[in-house]
Amino acid sequence: MSRQIWDIPGGIHPAQNKIQSLQTEITRADIPAELVIPTQQHIGAPAKPCVEVGDKVLKGQVIAEGNGFVSLPVHAPTSGEVIAIESRPIQHPSQIDGVCIVLKPDSNDTWGARHPIDNYQSLERNDVIDAIRNAGIAGMGGAGFPSAIKLGIKPGTKIEQLILNSVECEPYITADDKLIQERADEIIAGLEIMQWLVNPQETLIGIEDNKPDAIAAFKKATANNNIEVVVVPTKYPSGGEKQLIYMLTGKEVSSGGLPSDVGVICQNTGTAYAINRAIHHGEPLVSRITTVTGDAVKHKGNYEVLLGTPVDALLAQAGADMSAASRLIMGGPMMGFSIHDASVPVVKVTNCLLAPTTEEIPVPAQEQACIRCGSCAQVCPAGLLPQQLYWFSKSNELEKAEHFNLADCIECGACSFVCPSNIPLVQYFRFGKGQIRKHKSETIKADHARERFEFRQARLEKEEREKEQKRKARAEAAAKKQAAKKAAALANPPSDASGSPTTPGTDDVADTASNATKLKSAWASATKRWKDAEKALTIAEKNGSDQLEAFQKKVDQLKAKAEKTKALYEDAKTSAASTSPSSPSASPSPAVAPVSNDPMVQLKQASADNFKAWKDAQKKTQEAEANSADNLEALREEEATLKAKSDASKAAMKEARAKEKEAMQAKKATEDPTKQLKLDAAIARTKAKKALKALNSLDDDHASHAALKAAYEKALATADNADAALKAAEEA
């Protein structure tokens, strides 16, 4: 063999303990009384149950569908009835229950429809990958990553090596070894499917030199094809994906990178076997080979177990004496974890069940202080500094731990294995990794929360702004309405408003007018103060005061002020006159002359003016008579004209008033005839009452008695008539 093997750094050589479970053939495990099938047996989102309690299912039928890209379906491991879908203890170190589909087998183990693909080469590659995905195949070495995703390489990626990982370096585990010995042809068939899928330059099988039988079986199976079996020296953990890739190709997968980045795809032996079963036989992944070993187990060996078989059922079949076992370990002794409950089911990634006695694997020793011996750094296969990572993880210095590439730790346990102080280093690293992950998710959540909060703030502000705008618009509309109402009210004032001193019209005019009044009083007071000051100045001059200049100054100031206010007043007056549309020819003296739009008021005003003018003229005439003036005749004539004018205006006013009254009555009558009638009736009745009273107060023999009585009777009749009319009207 000319192929070069690169040696990984570090590594350990723990006791193999594989021989115990290699003595027997693969045994088919019994179908248990109840299968507990977790919806999460792979990395990614849990599958979604697609059956209901009470459904009868056949072997291989999908009972839970994949939920997203990184997810896989779950199939019924045997035929039977779904009796529950509930939370059950599952294979997780957190000891948190997971959703499981509980199946009660009918012991017939009847397969449902199987669709083998005889000639997969004639299909599209994606269809074959879909078939692998639909068969629910996850990486069976322990991680459980969906195999279809690994095989679905990005277009343009050139795969140089396809590697089948048959190293199985962890102590005790012989599942792959036994599978190779018994079914090498089937594994190679699965590998050939993968070969066709990814089209690599070369296909390698990596296998440790502690499995001579398996090597022989592979050699035989690969005699007629281009698959090369590469034997690597036994060393833990050469079965790690990155470690094996380095050993076989010398290529290092970068931190955080994928093997396909360096043109390599690595798959597990069990996965190749499962792919063969899925494509050539149409069988989804419903069972796997699991090593059951440990000194507490009587019949150590490899079992072909239906997925979902509770661990205790399997152990019972293997004759395990659980009272002798110190613990129960799922997975290998290096990377596995203790399970808390023996009812936990076997799943796609369960390659080993270990029930060791206390002598075999004693209770861990007490943790001692780190003595900085550096042994851990020497055995680390990832080339890390476990002692540094330990300090950082322990003191929660996560940034430093990240800086020292904690993420690249494969948790192989080599460092813990060699630690003379029995420090559970891997546990510290798992803790540190968990904290970093938690911290990251918290940061993401905080950013998300910040975004949401800021968005909410912005939204509230926007709402507030909109509300404010609406409020403003409403207030404006209301103000406009109010103004319109006021204007309307002023345009049609009630008739008794004629005495109102304000100039009717718009508010502006009223404002200007009142402003003018104010200014007038200001002018008056300013003038008064100026005059007073002048008086004081005169007195001071007379008395010869020494503060004469101050007085003079004050007087000047006051004078200026008085003049200024006068000017302002004049301005206001003119503006009031010009802005008042209803009174362009307002009477000259008071700026606030009462002028009205109402014809009645105007008439009244005119009549009063005319009356005054006549009276003035009369006075003048009388004076002139007394003084026997020359223009007496003219004056008399003027007086007569004015009197006529005044009389005319008076008559006009009277006429207008009568008309108004009539109109009002007519309006009232049209508005409510019954009201008018009621009024009439009431008036008539009052008159009748009055007449009766007058009648009673007089003696019978009084002269006017008869007349009064007649009047009373007449009034009474009128009242009766009115009442009758009212009744008729009401009925109508």
């Binding site: 723990p14 006791a15 193999q16 303990n17 999460q40 997780h92 170190p93 957190s94 948190i96 997971g98 102590p171 613990r327 370990i329 002794p333 290096m334 596995g336 974890f337 203790s338 075999e360 694997i361 004693p362 209770v363 861990p364 020793a365 007490q366 943790e367 001692q368 202080a369 322990k394 346990g413 813990s416 294995f417 029995n422 559970p424 891997v426 546990q427 510290y428 798992r430 803790f431 990794k433 968990g434 904290q435 992950r437 938690k438 998710s441 918290e442 959540k445 905080a446 950013d447 998300h448 929360a449 910040r450 949401r452 909060f453 800021e454 909410r456 703030q457």
Partner: protein
């Protein structure tokens, strides 16, 4: 003498040159936001709970950045946040300004006992994260993924049907616990002795 003059001249011209360059840069590359407040804000847990006495995390960050408030007011952030802020601002660590009972280590979420909810929408208005779903006279419920467990919805509830409970740990959020340390037998570890 000419040397002196040239030295003075060169220094002055350099001062003018760099001064104008700096002045230009100060105007051209001026930041609107306070970069220190941004950094402090990034350290805060964004629960928007207001327990620090500020209306949200950002205002507290600004107060801390402007030296108007102490760095030990963030109760949900706990001591980690105080350490981080102390490191960032070059201040000394001071213990958290809170009652012992106020401090919770685990993430909390609000939970509405839905059969008791009367649908008053008061909690919806109080929630700074818009994490409560519901309508008037309809039952309300908390969107757990958005809830920061800030407590602000508990007070307004007229029927006291809101509890603040620890967030449920799932397989994805679970993390390995810290080993107990020196002198104690580790719990979950599986050591293998070379007994062959």
């Amino acid at each position: 003498m000419t040397d002196d003059l040239s030295a003075v001249f060169s220094l002055v011209s350099m001062a003018v040159l760099f001064g104008s360059a700096l002045g230009y840069a100060a105007v051209k590359f001026a930041t609107d936001d306070d970069p220190i407040a941004d950094q402090v804000d990034a350290l805060l847990p964004q629960t928007q709970c207001g327990q620090c006495g500020h209306p949200g995390c950002r205002p507290y960050a600004e107060a801390v950045a402007n030296d108007e408030d102490e760095i030990n007011k963030c109760i949900p952030g706990g001591e980690d946040t105080i350490h981080a802020m102390a490191d960032l601002l070059g201040k000394d660590f001071i213990p958290l300004d809170a009652e012992e009972s106020d401090v919770v280590d685990v993430p909390m979420v609000a939970y509405i006992r839905e059969d008791e909810c009367i649908g008053c929408t008061k909690c919806i208005q109080a929630c700074p994260m818009d994490a409560i779903l519901g309508a008037a006279k309809q039952m309300h419920t908390v969107i757990v993924d958005e809830c920061t467990g800030c407590d602000l919805c508990v007070e307004p509830c007229p029927v006291d049907c809101i509890d603040i409970i620890p967030e449920k740990v799932t397989h994805t959020t679970w993390a390995w616990p810290q080993p107990d340390g020196v002198g104690i037998t580790p719990g979950q570890l599986i050591p293998v002795r070379n007994i062959a």
